[in-house]
């Protein structure tokens, strides 16, 4: 291979690398936050069932924060991160259970669609529908719509 051919492929390679970085960079999120946050999250231990590794990379669960509001309603916040570098969609649904473990029925519960940018972290929140609802379950699935 002569020098001009090598230069041609080298230039093409670096051109593609620059394009690759720009394309990826446009779909990822840079963040900045206080190094010592004032907020005191009440993180809880959780049980996870993750049969879908692809979904697990799109909507990676970082932690669960649960509180009880002054009105006596439980409130939960789940931190989700997109570990990939591309925008992804997923759907989620919160279910709540009373003190006896019974599902609290809801007529408006429907899977919600969310978009999450590459490397972005978002929060999914839910407030218990009744004061008796104490436990919850978050269902995550790949977006079909």
């Amino acid at each position: 291979m002569n020098r001009s051919t090598l230069d041609f492929f080298t230039a093409r390679f670096w051109g593609l690398m620059v394009l690759y970085v720009f394309v990826l960079g446009c779909n990822t999120v840079n963040t900045v936050a206080p190094s010592e946050p004032v907020a005191n999250k009440q993180m809880i231990s959780d049980k996870r069932v993750l049969p879908d590794p692809i979904l697990g990379s799109r909507a990676q669960i970082l932690g669960v924060n649960e509180t009880v509001t002054p009105g006596g309603f439980a409130k939960v916040q789940v931190e989700i991160r997109n570990a990939t570098s591309r925008p992804k969609h997923f759907e989620y649904l919160f279910e709540w259970f009373d003190i006896d473990g019974n599902l609290v029925q809801s007529s408006s519960k429907v899977y919600q669609v969310r978009e999450i940018l590459g490397k972005e972290t978002i929060f999914l929140t839910s407030i218990a529908p009744t004061q008796n609802a104490k436990d919850f379950r978050l269902k995550l699935t790949r977006a079909k719509r």
């Binding site: 309603f73 609290v104 408006s108 429907v110 218990a128 529908p129």
Partner: protein
Amino acid sequence: MRQVKKFIAIGMLPVWLVGCATSSTYVDPNGQRTVVNVGKINIQDFSTAADAFIQTILGKLAEGQLQSSEPGEPAVMAISRISNNTTAHLDTDQLVKKMRIELNRSGKILTTTTLGYGGVEDPLAKETQEYLAMTGRGSGQRLPDYTLTGKILEDYARDGRTKQVSYIFQMSLTDQAGLAIWEDEKIITKQGKSGAVGW
């Protein structure tokens, strides 16, 4: 004979398959198999908007910010004007009823059916209430602590063959002093490719 039976069975197979086949099936209205149309508000869109509003109202309740005028009793809400500013003919109860059900289940906010914008929802309940008040056996109509108003709008956009429609749901809860104690907006945006002919 066995061969004949076998051929008859094979020959009848298409008849059985066609006879048993159906083009209709039940789907969960809250599931993921519901149809998504760009040109209309689907049933799951009403559920999505209602769920979003309920969450923020519950947030207010959870912080103790929506109080009843009767101590120890749930707050009373009346349904005021819910406008449909879209091009579709739709019943706004598809949104409001879901909200009412969940607020009722919370035990914190009940909806009156004997007072509302445009007329009484339950005329018989209204007559019963008035009769009991007249005979001294009831307290009559309790004034609502809050009134619920709202509006549904739509916005169209197009870029080449891609068409986009946004449905904007706006709701407010107003207290007895005429102040909007809760307000929220939910936008549902859908995109699709338009066909070669038509919008």
